[in-house]
């Protein structure tokens, strides 16, 4: 069965005064129907831009998708007209954004913001849309839906607003939902609730989910597969469990080590990823992680490693020493043994 979403060699750039930023520099990955895929990386790694590029929501100017195909249900989204693309947005692909505080329109009622999507894509009348909105708001776990629909965003808490965003994304029974750091702006307890809700709903309704996060805990618990991004590229990709237990890219290893652990003695120091993310306008021919990498060799400066299959089935990494890393970091396995799976 072909994948629901197949992204091939996608490039997105931003033209700025300081030069062209290759925010997404040739990413390739796929998402199967009903599957949850996590995109992980630090700020500025291109994970959000990559996701927005799928829906062609990059502000142009300064942004532009310069290359690549995004096959969704067999159609290349990059070749659709703006009108055809509009019909995909919100209908076949839903989107949940990072900031629930600012992502809802402050002057429209919650109800209106849900029903307008239905009216737009399903062509239903107001009463039908209203009925479905009540159903959706109930589905995302908000009590007293009829009263809530008449309220405005400022009358709801952050967690509730994010539930509303999820309801909007679900409105037209999409096949895919893209969630761009959906819990970053929320309290920890609320984060868990929102993630559980998304997991539950996507499983129950058979919706594929791309979840963009910098939180490795989220990845471990909710994702089937993981793509680790660095400087606009995917540097490692594979099943969540494999990425956790046998990371094959030095950046992934560093990321995993930088996670604070409650189950270890407090004396143990945090091990942050040393150095700064690279300047995306000035990348050289070599591996972009090289300046921060403990395992860099001469070959890393000469050319950029491609994302290739490792000795672990299903797992690929963009590192010349991917297969060596397992032996080089012998203690890694032990150190990560406590990581949630």
């Amino acid at each position: 069965m072909p994948a629901l979403l197949e992204i091939q060699n996608l490039h997105t750039e931003f033209r700025t005064g300081a030069g062209t930023i290759h925010a997404v520099d040739g990413i390739t990955y796929s998402v199967n129907a009903g599957e949850t895929v996590a995109i992980v990386g630090e700020s500025g790694s291109g994970k959000s831009v990559g996701a927005l590029s799928i829906l062609r929501l990059i502000p142009d100017p300064p942004g532009r998708i310069t290359q690549g195909t995004v096959l969704f249900g067999g159609r290349d989204l990059m070749t659709l007209t703006e009108e055809q693309m509009r019909q995909v947005r919100g209908s076949e692909i839903g989107m949940v954004f990072q900031e629930p505080m600012t992502s809802l329109n402050p002057v429209l009622t919650i109800g209106r913001q849900i029903t307008e999507t239905l009216e737009q894509h399903r062509g239903v009348d107001r009463a039908t849309a209203q009925k479905r909105a009540v159903e959706l708001v109930g589905l995302v776990g908000i009590a007293d839906p009829i009263r809530r629909l008449k309220q405005y965003p400022h009358q709801l808490s952050g967690g509730m607003r994010q539930r509303i965003m999820i309801a909007i994304a679900l409105a037209c029974d999409p096949k895919l939902i893209i969630a761009d750091e959906p819990t970053t702006a929320l309290d920890v307890t609320i984060q868990a609730q929102i993630l559980e809700l998304m997991k539950d709903l996507t499983h129950r309704l058979g919706i594929a989910l791309i979840i963009i996060t910098h939180n490795l805990g989220v990845v471990a618990r909710y994702a089937n597969r993981v793509n680790v991004m660095y400087a606009g590229r995917i540097v490692e990709s594979g099943p969540a469990r494999a990425i956790y237990h046998t990371p094959r890219h030095p950046y992934t290893i560093a990321l995993l080590r930088s996670v604070p652990r409650l189950d270890r003695p407090r004396q143990a120091r945090l091990d942050p990823v040393e150095g700064q993310p690279p300047d995306l306008t000035r990348l050289d021919a070599g591996c972009s992680f090289r300046p921060r990498c403990r395992f860099a060799i001469a070959a890393c400066a000469a050319s950029r490693p491609r994302l290739e299959a490792t000795s672990n089935p299903g797992q690929s990494a963009a590192c010349f020493r991917a297969d060596e890393l397992a032996s080089l970091t012998g203690t890694n396995e032990a150190a990560l043994a406590g990581a949630p799976a």
Binding site: N105, T117, H154
Partner: protein
């Protein structure tokens, strides 16, 4: 919400009292008075006895606090007395001139708003296009052009064009006819001044619309609206404009209030017998009663416009309505 309206309306009372006291005092700080001007207008010397008699007639020989309470008591009863200069009731003087000023202000505001909001919006949506450049130049021109100059130029253009095409120069009528009596004559009188003041007004409004619209279009909820796959028209009309209009409404309200009392120069250029001109005459003649009444009227207009703006705000923005 109702509490909010009541509070807003009650706040008007101290504002009015303060304004009344201020204008009463300021008028009396100007050296000389209406009697001196009236009797000395011929340029010769005048009899102090005549001045004293005049003061007595106008009640200006009474202690100042008596005059003040008389004035305040008059306001409460909507009795502003008679003009110290013409001897006619103040309300008669104002009523005779208010329609033309009000009509020009209204027409100017409507013209300005109708032009400014769509152009400002389009300009923001097509940032850096030729349309945007045109709108920005047009707006800068409107802010930089003094309205008296624009008034004179537009009159000259009308004169030249009519004499060229019709053979005889045509001038707008100078006596005011109410719109419902003779719409064509009425409009031919007020249209030019309305355009003259409307240009500057629309320039400011356009710039405000453009900048807030640019800001709003970068908001997260606009991205959400796009991600929902809404058609462009809906994103602009329902999601962007309603948010962008908040500061624009304030601007329109304040500008309108300003026009009622501030048309002095335009009225002079077009030779219109309006409130602005009456204002200048009243101050020149040191006509206390008339000036006081005019200032009170202007204050009331300002306060009323602000009240309307606040109510509109509450209507547009639920965050205010429910707090």
């Amino acid at each position: 919400m109702y509490l909010y309206i009541i509070k807003r309306v009650l706040l008007v009372i101290p504002t009015l009292i303060g304004a009344a006291a201020l204008v009463f005092l300021l008028m009396r700080l100007i050296p000389g008075d209406v009697c001196v001007i009236r009797l000395g207008s011929s340029g010769g010397t005048f009899d102090p006895k005549a001045v004293a008699l005049c003061h007595q007639e106008l009640g200006m020989n009474r202690p100042i606090w008596v005059q003040f309470f008389d004035f305040m008591w008059g306001i409460v009863r909507f009795d502003f007395g008679t003009s110290m200069w013409s001897g006619k009731p103040v309300t008669t003087e104002i009523w005779a001139r208010l329609p033309v000023s009000l009509e020009i202000a209204l027409l100017g505001s409507v013209l300005a708003t109708v032009i400014a909001i769509p152009l400002g919006t389009l300009s923001a949506l097509r940032q850096n296009s030729w349309l945007d450049v045109f709108v920005r130049v047009f707006a800068i021109g409107g802010i930089a052009t003094p309205s008296f100059w624009l008034g004179i130029i537009s009159l000259l253009i009308v004169l030249d064009l009519t004499s060229f095409f019709l053979g005889a120069a045509w001038m707008p009528p100078i006596d005011y006819v109410p719109f419902f009596e003779d719409p064509i004559r009425n409009l031919s009188m007020v249209l030019l001044p309305a355009i003259t003041i409307g240009y500057r007004y629309s320039a400011i409004t356009m710039r405000m619309t453009r900048s807030t619209m640019l800001e709003v279009m970068r908001e997260d909820y606009i991205r959400t609206a796009r991600a929902k796959g809404l058609i462009h028209k809906l994103i602009i009309n329902r999601h962007a404009l309603k948010n962008a209009m908040l500061p624009v409404v304030t601007l329109i309200g304040i500008e309108f209030a300003f026009l009622i009392g501030g048309l002095v120069v335009t009225e002079q250029v077009f030779n219109l017998n309006g409130v602005g001109r009456l204002f200048v005459q009243a101050v020149q003649n040191q006509d206390y009663t008339l000036t006081q009444a005019l200032v009170m009227m202007t204050v009331v207009v300002f306060v009323f416009c602000n009240l309307v703006v606040d109510l509109l705000y509450a209507w547009l923005d639920p965050r205010i309505r429910y707090s």
